[in-house]
Symmetry: C2
Subunit: 463 residues, 2 copies
């Protein structure tokens, strides 16, 4: 059945805002709520993809969210729950009547149920587990027994497999007769009699080959499996690096126990990108649906660290109180040196953090990259030294002041390049996520070096 798209969600390629939920749709939904018109609400939301319904629930306020859930009732299925932001998932689940919730999760694949409940509080977890059939509940509980962020949590347990001696014809006959093939699968996994996977065949190859063709002769090259305790981040990296579409998961005895598909890997990649970008900005985790209190809590620690580093920089300035009193122009110019260093350091560190995340920065090239960053800092330092030297000269009429700020600029930009690459590399070596902590260290270094170089040179040569 082809799903109808409503006028509101049709994507017009010439529209700048294709894929942004149409405000008109939202107002129609609010209107249906105001008039308590259930039929109209269902008519508006039914044609939407679960991900879009989840977006609507995220974008309205808590009051409207409750009204939508109450009025939409039974139609809220498991797929919608899977799509909802962690920030409000618990709120939504708490609003659903138990029998609706039970219906909703019963149709999900085991990996989706795991994804849905792993971050919930125990009470909410129990409610959902209790609503599953016995076999499904055992499968979900088994998955939850694997460590968080492991391949075991990502995989689905429904696997299409066949023995190594099968032909294409036998594989097709088997699939045609099998009950409940998974919703999405892309390979048949071939195993030996002990259930060790020895390769897999794409469905395309099975469809394109004669019935008599041995599966063993059309296995995909570059076959890989994942151990159940392997980290999800390694899994995601491998999917991306090797353009994989699905891969079997094995237990410690190398026996087939599940399969991971590309959509799960894509999710992990997406989350890791998000984490990197937020951590670089010192936000920890954070979504638009978090409440003020949670957001304050997320942002406080980083601001606290920043306060400490800012105070350390101030202590450097305090050493030069006499110099500043004698020449107040220094107070005017000193933030420029520190700020340029901070920015150059952030540039170098962002490139380094990314390169570490994509595993492009390794022992093999780290010295070459460090040399490049120092050189880049030196060249940029020279360029801005000339500019600031001229600014200092023109603004305050002192060639010596211009010279001091110029030299301080070169020093700080070289240090910024060195710290920008060195800090994340060292943090990674000692097992700290460089995205999380590099920023604070690098700007501390550039602030302190910036103030010290500028004010120290001024104290020595200008007074």
């Amino acid at each position: 059945m082809v799903e109808e798209t409503t006028p509101e969600t049709q994507n017009d390629p010439h529209d700048e805002d294709a894929y942004v939920l149409a405000p008109r749709l939202l107002s129609s939904i609010i209107f249906a709520l105001e008039t308590q018109d259930q039929a109209q609400l269902v008519a508006l939301m039914e044609p939407l993809h679960a991900a879009d319904i989840a977006d609507i629930l995220e974008q309205v306020n808590a009051f409207d969210r409750r009204r939508i859930i109450e009025l939409y009732g039974r139609e809220l299925d498991g797929e919608i729950l899977s799509e909802i932001d962690d920030g409000i998932r618990e709120e939504v689940i708490a609003l659903m009547r138990p029998e609706v919730l039970a219906d909703a999760v019963r149709d999900l694949d085991s990996d989706d149920v795991v994804d849905l409940i792993e971050d919930l509080e125990e009470g909410a977890q129990e409610t959902i587990l209790a609503s599953l059939e016995d076999a499904d509940r055992v499968a979900v509980e088994q998955s939850l027994s694997y460590p968080e962020f492991s391949a075991g949590r990502l995989m689905q347990r429904e696997v299409v497999m066949g023995p190594e001696h099968w032909t294409v014809g036998q594989a097709i006959d088997y699939m045609r007769e099998a009950e409940g093939l998974p919703e999405d699968f892309y390979h048949m996994v071939i195993t030996d009699p002990l259930l060790h996977p020895i390769g897999h065949v794409t469905l395309g190859k099975i469809l394109g080959a004669p019935r008599a063709q041995k599966l063993n002769d059309i296995l995909e090259p570059g076959f890989r499996t994942f151990r159940v305790d392997e980290s999800e981040s390694d899994v995601a990296y491998a999917f991306n690096q090797y353009h994989m579409i699905s891969a079997p998961v094995v237990d410690e005895d190398d026996r087939l126990i599940g399969v991971i598909t590309i959509d799960d890997a894509m999710n992990v990649l997406d989350e890791e990108h998000e984490e990197d970008i937020l951590r670089l900005a010192g936000v920890g985790e954070g979504t638009l649906t978090d409440r003020v209190f949670d957001t304050v809590k997320q942002r406080l620690p980083w601001l606290g660290v920043n306060l400490l580093t800012a105070i350390m920089a101030s202590l450097v300035i305090a050493q030069f109180e006499g110099t500043i009193t004698a020449l107040v122009a220094l107070a005017v110019l000193m933030p420029i040196v520190a700020s340029m260093g901070g920015n150059a350091g952030t540039q170098a560190l962002t490139v380094a953090v990314r390169a570490i995340a994509t595993r492009d920065l390794t022992g093999a090239n780290v010295w070459r990259v460090i040399r490049r960053e120092v050189l880049v800092g030196f060249v940029n330092g020279l360029i801005f030294a000339v500019i600031m030297g001229v600014v200092g000269l023109v603004w305050f009429g002192s060639l010596a002041l211009g010279g001091v700020i110029a030299v301080a600029m070169v020093i700080n930009l070289v240090v910024a390049g060195l710290a920008g690459i060195g800090v994340p590399v060292v943090l990674e070596r000692i097992g700290v996520d460089p995205a999380l902590a590099s920023g604070a260290f690098v700007t501390t270094v550039t602030d302190i070096v910036g103030f010290f170089a500028f004010l120290g040179l001024a104290a020595t040569f200008l007074l």
Copy 2:
């Protein structure tokens, strides 16, 4: 055929550095180069995935790169070229003998050839185009005629399709007889007689259904097509949002002309993430393989913008030279207020930029989010106001100075929240990429407000 993994590349889940190229492998390769031992080099590199070979070429220096390419010779295939970083691709292609290059690209799908050559200079493009067979060259040239970053550039032209009246049996017979099915395909696209796609069937459904089953009755729900001129960013968003695996591309008459698969969409998502994270740090584009000169060029503009904003902040300080001379403690403390504002602003702006990129921040919730950010800024401002008030009092023994820095802190953190969300939203409305320009605006605002609030209050109440 199952590809053998060499001991060096075997992934051990218990190894922290699984998937980082083993340094031992690299040294063996360098040793083979030193001894000009071609057989050994091929033995080392042949078992590797193309993506890993590309990584090796990226991680060695230019001298070794040239030696590898010369010694590895014929084995360097098109897939490796596709995987190589833009930064050195041109260098590698220039090093390859023309007949090797021709061999290398001939086996690629049309979309991979397009991806390979679209960023090359015209000379290198011609060389590669000339080495293709006529039909392939026409296909590639046609793809290149679509705008950059459009669906047309992403799609492959090889499509598996069938008419709407077909049964499963007919589809299987067709695929079994078809010459040259694409390497990777996941659906059969169903079209009407005018080649308008009306739906698609997963290969899994085809394999699971009886031969007599009408394809029309097992079409996938939620079927979507892309217009050839749609932006690749919209395509990637839709793949991610709706968990798509492949989708047809149509021309302006809605006729089927190609298909986009998830690996292409994943690539785009990856590149956009990379772009966002680098732009937020003011790096533009940048990879580890760029040379010093290119890197300087990428980073100069942002540093230049930062210099201007830093000078503007200095102009604010200059207004208070007299105040600072009278009370030099102000010079010591003023960077703290500015720095805290800058950090709080960056936090808010990063969340906002991400939310705009994932289309979670829309007209429906923007006011709620602005209110939240202002509140968060106010609460964090109060907390750090108390801390800094005490620090000011203890350090400089002045209750009034502590009070001034406390009030300035609250003002600047509220402004930071407001600017952090307001600037990216406004930039997005006027069509500027918020990731690119927000940082400069926000820190300018927080610097200026920070210095002005602190020094202005001090001038009013302390002197």
